[in-house]
């Protein structure tokens, strides 16, 4: 409905569409790249691409938000190829310290897990970002990634196994996470 109104020239419809979907596209790109600048660029490119060719979105094929995330995935992968992997881990991360209540330890833990996610190969990283961080179900993630539900499930399983191994191989990270878990329990 909003898409149709936007196609008819309604600015308020476009503003509402942007307001509803930009944050999720931004967060997806941020988690995939670790860079706020790249995430901003992805949001702009995705919506620009939609404005240039709105007819490519077919409502019968799926939800508009998932369509945008599908485009975001392609843009992110393209941009990641231009960026060296080591730059990813050093890139500015999410503003974990924005909340004044966040202790230093908590921020450090979150930063470590963020780096662990960024160290995953892109195909597995996508599964973790969509299912664990954006809390999508397998069917939605499959639509974004344009693959079968079974593929999402197996990639997620493999990705979590890689993350678990990383935790296992870094005792200090495991300790942080244990303390973190205790802190969350007490909070």
């Amino acid at each position: 409905m909003l898409v149709r109104q936007m196609l008819e020239g309604s600015e308020s419809a476009f503003t509402e569409l942007y307001r509803r979907h930009q944050a999720r596209v931004f967060r997806f790109a941020l988690h995939m790249s670790g860079s706020r600048a790249l995430a901003e660029e992805v949001v702009q490119e995705v919506f620009l691409a939609f404005l240039k060719d709105p007819a490519r979105y077919v409502p019968e094929r799926g939800n508009f938000g998932l369509y945008l995330l599908g485009m975001a995935k392609n843009y992110v992968l393209r941009m990641l190829h231009r960026t060296r992997d080591e730059d990813l881990e050093q890139a500015d991360g999410p503003a974990a310290g924005d909340d004044p209540a966040d202790g230093l330890a908590r921020r450090q833990t979150i930063e470590n897990i963020r780096k662990a996610v960024l160290s995953l190969p892109p195909g597995y990283r996508e599964a973790v970002v969509l299912c664990d961080l954006e809390e999508m179900d397998y069917a939605e993630a499959a639509q974004v990634l344009d693959c079968a539900v079974g593929t999402v499930r197996s990639r997620l399983h493999r990705a979590r196994a890689m993350l678990a191994e990383r935790i296992r191989n870094k005792p200090e990270l495991r300790d942080e996470l244990s303390r973190f878990k205790v802190m969350r329990c007490l909070a």
């Binding site: 941020l30 949001v43 999410p94």
Partner: protein, 231 residues
Amino acid sequence: MHAEMAEHAAACPECAAIGEEERLLSSALSALAASTSSSEAPEEVAQALLTEFRAGRRTQRNIRRFSWTAAVAAGIGLVAVMGNWSVLKPRLQAPPAVAEKRAGPVQTVPVQEAAPAPQPPAVERGAGARAASALTARVRSGRGVRRPVAPPARPEPLREYVTEFVPLRYGESLRLDDVAGVVRIAIPRSELARFGLPVAPEASGRRIQADVLLGVDGVARAMRFVKTETY
């Protein structure tokens, strides 16, 4: 199921360790997700996209306006060519030798070769200008000029209808002091498409008569179409 797993984990240290790892991981990922739950693109991105949206809307309106104008112009041209020929009179008074023609040998008005004619200013060459050059070339090469022939053995035409002269260069007005002569040519009907006029596919191979107004520099300035009726 959870109860069964808990019961098994209590008895199996290895599975208990795996279960604990999974819980730690899930907890950490939840914390990461929560830390970015309010993250979004800055306002500048929204403004840039809104600007782009408004520009796209303006372009769409201009395209619609242009389409209407083009449709109206094509309609007028269609009426001029296919409609009542007797209603339309030449705006420019052509030389008497050409204004009322009868069938017979075509009188070719000599074109004065202009010595080094100044090149037309470098303006946008639209379809009209390209058509003008093509016509000039055709006239000069003699391809478009009907050679004098013996009068055909058929009844003489009783009436000739002509349209207004249409300038071949966009925005150019016709001046009487710039006329060197008028040349009658026969062109394929398909050439009408250059002027945005519709051409029936079955008629595209037939020829139509046209008068070309030549300037003193020998360049075609305008053209009108001619229809003759015979009995």
